[in-house]
Amino acid sequence: MDNSLLVDLSRSQFALTAMYHWLFVPLTLGLSFIIAFMETIYVKTGNPEWKKITKFWMTLFGINFAIGLATGIIMEFEFGTNWSNYSWIVGDIFGAPLAIEGIMAFFMESTFFAVMFFGWNKVSKKAHLLSTWLVAIGSNLSALWILVANGWMQYPTGMKFNVDTARFEMESFFDVLFNPVAVSKFLHTVSSGYVMGSLFVIGISSWYLLKKRDTVFAKRSIIVAASFGLLASIFLISTGDESAHQVALKQPTKLAAMEGLYDGSKRQGIVAIGQLTSGKEIGDNKDDFVWSVQIPYALSFLGFRNIDAFVPGMDDLVLGNKKMNIEPASDMLAKGKIALKSLRDYKNAQKVNDAEKSQASLKTFRMYEKYLGYGYLKNPVDIIPPVGLTFYSFHIMVGLGTWFLILFFFMLYYSMIGKIEDKRLFQKLALWSIPLGYLAGEVGWIVAEVGRQPWAIQGMLPTQVATSHLTSNSVAVTLVLFAVLFTGLLIAEIKIMLSQIKLGFKGA
């Protein structure tokens, strides 16, 4: 049965909820720490102006936090509602981090959130400060566990396939937790949140400077946020480098799509900027780019830490490359079909108690087990993710990340020498960088998730197999409802946020 419409709608719904959710999460991650820094300064100095500054940003934090929760609850339950096969086949491994996230992080956030907002006159200064820090730590712990789960989807480790239950089962909790992809992904993602939080604070503060109001509060906020943002940007770039290195090692098709690379080579350069050739197909020998600016050797070096390393392109990965010992995808699909058939034979033999046949089928299955997921694919080219979306998203993300570093540097520099109030150009640039921060975060997730296609679990479980047995109409209805509801709530959130910003620090 062709379930492509159902899969597309299910993916659209998940993408919609994830993208809405990611509009709010990075700000929570970053702003929570910035508020904690500000309140620490207040407790250390006793200066009530820092309390006002803290409370002002806390109000904006609360508005953002509420809608983050609203969109977040959907994510967990959608694994069950829309990806029930996935939930069963890998739930043994994937469910654990989600549950730990609840125990370790959600309760911490929700308990101390109440103290942070309503406890100013109910607990001591230090207890309040501790609560603010615990909200920040809780938010980031939450990110840790969800990214452990996501990292495992990108690079599955610490598990085995159980033929009797027909699912993957965990073998090593610590392999899942310390999965190198998960570690780099967590660090990269939370640092992107810190950058977003810093952009938000310096952008809004710059608006006050442009309007020549609340200037003392704004300048103090900029110093805290630009310092944090600059450090976070440096960290973001280094974790991004490690993240891309892990992609090169574990997800070669994703790397090839990120770079628009068809014909791989040693000493491969990296495309700094370029325009993909439209209509290009695997093995057609057309140029990869209409035009491009490349940095020589850089992809080999950054991807594999070796200037002479061979970087496989999409042609190599689909058609194979004997010289570099890369198996053609068609062979992997054929072996995958053998794995699927032998698994089916094993189950049938078990049903009729045919021990001899079940043993033989099991032996065959174990030989081809690692190709199991490929058995579901129809064509070798199916292993390639959408190239255009992945390539442009990746390059937009990298370009914006570099811009944020420059912006934070100048904002901090001018703040330190006391000239930030005069730099109207930078104030405007900071203000307009707020939407760019959101854009960078969204395209980053597009690289991660679209670049993972066609897999729900890299190399193991294709997206088409992971979905629930639903009708496409059912999903279409809920997709539209989600789109309408979330858009309505987003409009409400933006209007409330703008209104609170207009009220300024004095009302805090």
Binding site: A66, N85, W88, G91, D92, G95, M170, S499
Partner: protein, 374 residues
């Protein structure tokens, strides 16, 4: 430590934790109950603000308990999670929508330029507290009455009715359980207000509302008990799943401890109502809270005990799920069991914070002097 437990003991331990989380969630639904009482107990804007502030400092804990309940089911009983959520799609989606609209309502309700208006957010809170809770009760009812699903030999589930779980609300048992939870939430909300709010007008209104809700709660609860004790259940007899008449009555008789927990819990709730209505006590919420946790714990435990199916299949009896065939692997349950050692610690800091924040009752003066209020 946990490695030494048998696989079945681990499954039972995790079902107990699920039951505990479910019980804590049901206790915390006093927030939802309170949302449905907003216009009944608060007659002016100031009074509304007090009620919203009282509930608003707790709503996230309820929300988190629900998410935790789902997360624990996913990790410990993934086949149940996949089958129920992926099958009864419309019911779970309806519940999710009811909770999405709650999450923003406290924060946005009275903020300037909130686009949808204060009234809309108050309607959202009412929908969450009424429809959301009744549907959750009905969905949990299907654990006793079953769902229309089948499992393939690869354990992949599919639903056999196009109504996708909405049929659950046609079953009287499910609906009555939904109404029991709904009126329990309202009753507990009233007890919570009596304890948490210092405002004569609200307290007088609350006592009036509590009287009516208590009668309705007790009526539906007694009806539910009768239906439960006469209900047939599904059990695994060692070879196959079979239908067993009076299964839950038999489970109670087979485990006097569970019966005792259930009865003590029910008596505590009744005692809480009595002292609140007739002795003007403010402490009813604690008795009713403990009672609710005990009753729900006992009810959930009935499902995971004595070879009972936790999710009978109405389409193919042999596709039914029990704690054995729906559970995560032994390794995962052991690993998760170590994580579960954090639960007492988490409960500990919640209790400490709760006590500290609720040391003094909420007053009108406090709300007006607080720069950040809902």
């Amino acid at each position: 430590m946990f490695e030494k437990l048998s696989y079945l003991a681990l499954q039972e331990y995790w079902w107990f934790l699920i039951a505990l989380l479910g019980a804590l969630f049901v206790f915390m639904t006093f927030v939802q109950g309170g949302q449905t009482l907003l216009n009944k107990v608060a007659k002016s804007e100031d009074e509304k603000d007090i009620v919203i502030a009282s509930l608003g400092r707790k709503w996230e804990l309820t929300f988190t308990s629900l998410v935790m309940f789902g997360g624990a089911l996913f990790a410990a009983f993934p086949l149940f999670y996949a089958t129920s959520f992926g099958g009864a799609y419309y019911v779970w989606m309806a519940i999710l929508f009811c909770f999405i609209i709650q999450a923003v309502s406290y924060e946005y309700r009275k903020k300037p330029d909130n686009f949808l208006g204060q009234k809309t957010f108050e309607i959202f809170l009412f929908i969450n507290g009424s429809l959301g809770i009744i549907l959750i009760g009905a969905a949990v009812g299907t654990l006793f009455t079953g769902g229309n699903f089948i499992l393939s030999d690869m354990n992949l589930s599919s639903w056999t009715l196009s109504s996708r779980g909405l049929e659950a609300v046609l079953n009287p048992f499910n609906v009555i359980l939904g109404l029991v939870v709904f009126f329990l939430a309202r009753v507990q909300a009233s007890l919570y207000f009596l304890n948490n709010i210092n405002h004569e007008g609200i307290i007088n209104n609350t006592r009036r509302v509590l009287r009516n809700d208590a009668i309705l709660f007790l009526a539906f609860f007694i009806l539910f008990c009768i239906l439960l004790l006469t209900l047939s259940g599904v059990a695994y007899d060692g070879n196959a799943f079979v239908v067993v008449k009076y299964k839950f009555l038999l489970n109670f008789l087979a485990s006097p401890i569970l019966l005792g927990i259930f009865l003590v819990g029910a008596l505590l709730v009744i005692y809480a109502l009595f002292i609140s209505l007739f002795k003007k006590s403010q402490q009813g919420i604690w008795f009713s809270g403990v009672g609710t946790v005990l009753v729900v714990l006992a009810l959930f435990s009935l499902l995971g005990f004595n070879n009972t199916a936790i999710y009978p299949s109405l389409s193919d009896l042999q596709s039914s799920l029990d704690i054995r065939n729906a559970a995560a692997s032994r390794y995962t349950l052991v690993a998760m069991s170590y994580v579960s050692l954090l639960v007492p610690f988490v409960l500990g800091y919640i209790i400490i914070v709760w006590r500290k924040m609720d040391q003094k009752q909420i007053t009108s003066d406090e709300i007006q002097s607080d720069s950040h209020h809902y």
